[in-house]
Symmetry: C2
Amino acid sequence: MKRNCGQWGHRLRQCGYKCTPGREAVLEVLESNDEHLSPEEIYAIASKEYPEIGLTTVYRTLEILVRLGIVVKLEIGDGKSRYELSENHGNKTHHHHFVCDGCGRIEDYSDFIDEEIELITKIEKTLEKKRNFKIEHHIIQFHGLCGGCYVKNGRGKKI
Amino acid sequence: MKRNCGQWGHRLRQCGYKCTPGREAVLEVLESNDEHLSPEEIYAIASKEYPEIGLTTVYRTLEILVRLGIVVKLEIGDGKSRYELSENHGNKTHHHHFVCDGCGRIEDYSDFIDEEIELITKIEKTLEKKRNFKIEHHIIQFHGLCGGCYVKNGRGKKI
DNA sequence: TTCTATATGATAATTATTTTCATTTAGGTT
DNA sequence: AACCTAAATGAAAATAATTATCATATAGAA
């Protein structure tokens, strides 16, 4: 079963990776479900189209896609990792995440994104110059409770 | 062996938690080593002063301290969690982290911290108002390579 | 000192991820 | 179109951080 991995085939081959049905299946899942999927979820969805795929292949594929910058890894602190197409490749623009620590829901936001990008750029430049770091990416998350969980948890009562 | 858990004894008892030698040992470790320790590391250090302590108690104590806002949990993506006294309780002021994905080193930074706090406050207010979130904390991290790892990894050559 | 809810530690269980390894395959070469 | 080999695969085992269990011990109020 030969596949070409859609728009990413060229990129993969260029970097020495082969286009396989498993990799194509993972990419298709990420394209058609743009919401922060875990490897297990990606595996479950991909299995419908390509039942031979193994969970290990999903993990390995995601690792490669992250390395190539096609996919971004996201960790919200619940012990499992999540993945989404990076802003250059998906249909999303630069955004960050709000995480509800009550129910685990993740919402994108991009309010004040221009100011944010400007400040981030400034900080990155400073860190690179003053401390000799090579910044590759940043993580910005807001954590708290969504409306429903706030009510459910007693409206902010302590402990 | 009765302990009072130093400056935190009152706070703990007030919230219905007892002051135990294990909890005191964990707090002492966090006070005297302000650098992003994992539960295993905290356990190893605490064991020197109080050998009877168990790793489970370290985990449980950290959970409580986070809940009380005394300690902050930090995850840099290497699969283990780290803890530090929160800015209100330790000797550190508001800061964020640079993480070297090569060697795992974590460095605090607080460049442009005033601008950062201003922007964060603005974003939080907006998210709370427009989306009805209750923001409790945020995570800001810069990831990349420190000087040494950059050289070691071939100065940014791809793959 | 007594008493009881809370805390503890040893151990087992859980869960996400990684490793191993024998087998298969993508894709360049003949 | 058949061949060849490094790369990829899947099943299963291994790993590692964290959490649950449970019988025992203890903090701290009465």
